[in-house]
Amino acid sequence: MTRDHDLHAELTDLMGALCERRLTPTQTKRLEELVIGNQAARTFYVEYMHIHAGLARLAAVDPGTELHARIESLLAATPAPQPRPKGAPVPPSAPSVEGSGHGNATPLAFLGAALSHISWISIAAVFAAVALTLWLRAPRAIERPAEPLVADAPLYVATLLRAPGCKWDTCQLPTEAGARLFPGRLRLAEGQALIEFDSGAHVLLKGPAVFELRSAMEARLLSGTVSVNVPEKARGFTVDTLSAKVIDLGTEFGLIAEPSGASEVHVLAGLVELESGSAGHASRAQVPAGQARRFESLAAATARDVPFDASLFPRDVLAALADEHEMARRGVTDHFDGDVLDPRVWRTVETVVAGAASVVQIDGHVELTNRGHLVTKDEFDPAICGTLRIRGRWIFQSEKDYMQILTRSDGEPDDLHGETRNGIECYLNTQLRYAGITERLDGRNAAGIGGAAFEVSPGDTVAFEVLDDGTNITFSVEKIGDDSPPLVIRGTSGLDFAHDYVVFHNRERIEAGAGWRELIPMLPPEYQTMISQLDDVTIEVLANPIPSDHGPH
């Protein structure tokens, strides 16, 4: 009895480790020994794996629906229970599940009794009918992504770079731009989403599509259209569909997976290798740029030529987005020489309710007036790019003006005062003689996350530096030509917004600020227009995390 108990306990541990991919090589060997050499162990192994399989089938039929809802819907979909043969009694009380409390504690307690009336065949038939439908309509919809048997897979395999205007169906992965993605399935209902695999491959998914990330080098298109761009370092990146596997040999291709199981590959540049057919009937072929192949059905082992059509794939968008991302990596350096702002780098927003806002490049610097916004053309998402460093010089011209620099921002003036709607703001307030960091959320200061006194007056030039790694923010200011020590403020914020522009602006025209209206009569006229100068701006992405000791320059 004790020996049986010990064997059962050992097997339970081993099976748990096997199912959760924690089985070590030693445990694998031990499990093998037991299963091969012991009938009881063999029986237990098969019974346990049947439970594992049953649970997976239950979840796979309709991923996303809670288990209890699924059981309920199965009951609803199951034909009315057949009367039990006479003399075949219903057990008075079904056994409870040890370790899980009593059935009465669950909202599904009634199901135990209800299910005992129902033939499993009918339940299985419902499961399987749905599974078959999925299989026929959306091939491999019930499949799972690659996972090694031994648990050494990295947690994340890719990053969702952009998803502007995307609508998502229920899916298991995060769908916010900038989100890191672990192996799993994306269901894009509408729009275009750019994914960067950790191998360096870029995939542009065009909705509606179901796309499964399997590893940094493997993906599966279940339905829809993708454009794939693979740099040399990710050579061998593979995307498969039900009917074909496309192995990239350092190139660019488009792939379509149809619900029928048919798929088409169009080679946009370079060369790809195609694999198709089932075990024992596999065929391989290389397809060069400008050609396309179509696999008709689930069972097709060979492809046929079809007219190449690059317009089916949003290749330009992929290239543009990838370029944009690269530009963000390269960063910005601008000394504002010349008479006009570089339109490739900057945009300006002057629609401030308080009025008379402007942003102009003049005399080798930018002049910011009455909260005119200077906004980067590119987005710099520290969660994607890495630690962002923004440096420059700010020259105060007006009493009571502010220096305001934002990261992770939409760059949109919002309230009466024209403060920016969203972002992480680093500011220096001449009126309060105070520097700080605050979260701007939906047009209000959501939370101050650090600050300290700092004396500054009109005519002062301040060197500034902002570091943002997506969580930690360091804001440093130092007066040029002054012996006073630099000020360094540190704070943290996990706020992540839809846009990640860098923004510079000063204070609004005071006379229109509602909160200040009663003060206007007391202020000299020259205080009513706010002017600051900005110069020598650099925005860069650092390879290393935020350093612990540094000054603004």
Binding site: M49, A56, T106, G112, W120, A124, R144
Partner: protein, 186 residues
């Protein structure tokens, strides 16, 4: 080759055979998956083998004799596909030995008749789990889920989730045994 060339017979006969395939497939596919998973205890591998098995069954259904054992026929095809996949993956995946696979395949055949009643009991026992445990099972058995991803979702450590899942499967195993025992003596 397309699906239309599977049955080189007239269309009404073809429709009839297609319906028969769907009926048999519907009934047996979960059991074939369970069989494969015991031999390839990794979901992606098992799904790959299942997919190939399904395709071969579909293509070769013309050879299947109506009235003979579909499950047994499907299991033989699945077995060959498992061996083919093992051969393909030998170099990249940790696998059990051939001897292990053969021993488990034989045990599967011995347990084949009990599988349907065991799956029914699983549904009964699942319904008895605490909502919290049901939720954990739901999360863990979503496609692509891992112990780690579930731990993140529920805000518990991976070890705690690991232990909870093992406890739940163990509890289900015990519950199924008792359920079948009660039924056998009823």
């Amino acid at each position: 080759m397309s699906g239309d060339s599977v049955f080189p017979i007239d269309s009404s006969r073809r429709n009839e055979r297609t319906e028969e395939f769907i009926r048999l497939f519907t009934r047996h596919e979960p059991r074939i998956f369970a069989y494969i998973l015991t031999l390839l205890p990794s979901f992606p591998d098992a799904e790959d083998a299942l997919q190939q098995t399904n395709l071969v069954m579909w293509r070769k259904f013309g050879e299947f004799q109506t009235g003979t054992d579909f499950m047994s026929w499907g299991r033989r095809i699945a077995h060959l596909e498992v061996l083919a996949l093992r051969k393909r993956k030998q170099r990249t995946t940790t696998l059990f030995s051939d001897e292990f696979v053969e021993a488990v395949a034989t045990e599967n055949e011995a347990q084949s008749d009990a599988l349907e009643s065991r799956q029914r009991a699983l549904a009964v026992c699942l319904a008895k789990l605490k909502p919290r445990d049901q939720h954990l099972v739901h999360l863990r058995y979503q496609p692509g889920a891992t112990t780690q991803s579930v731990a993140q979702q529920v805000g518990r450590s991976a070890d705690a989730v690991y232990k909870a899942l093992n406890r739940i499967r163990e509890a289900l195993w015990g519950c199924i045994k008792r359920t079948l025992s009660v039924e056998a003596h009823a």
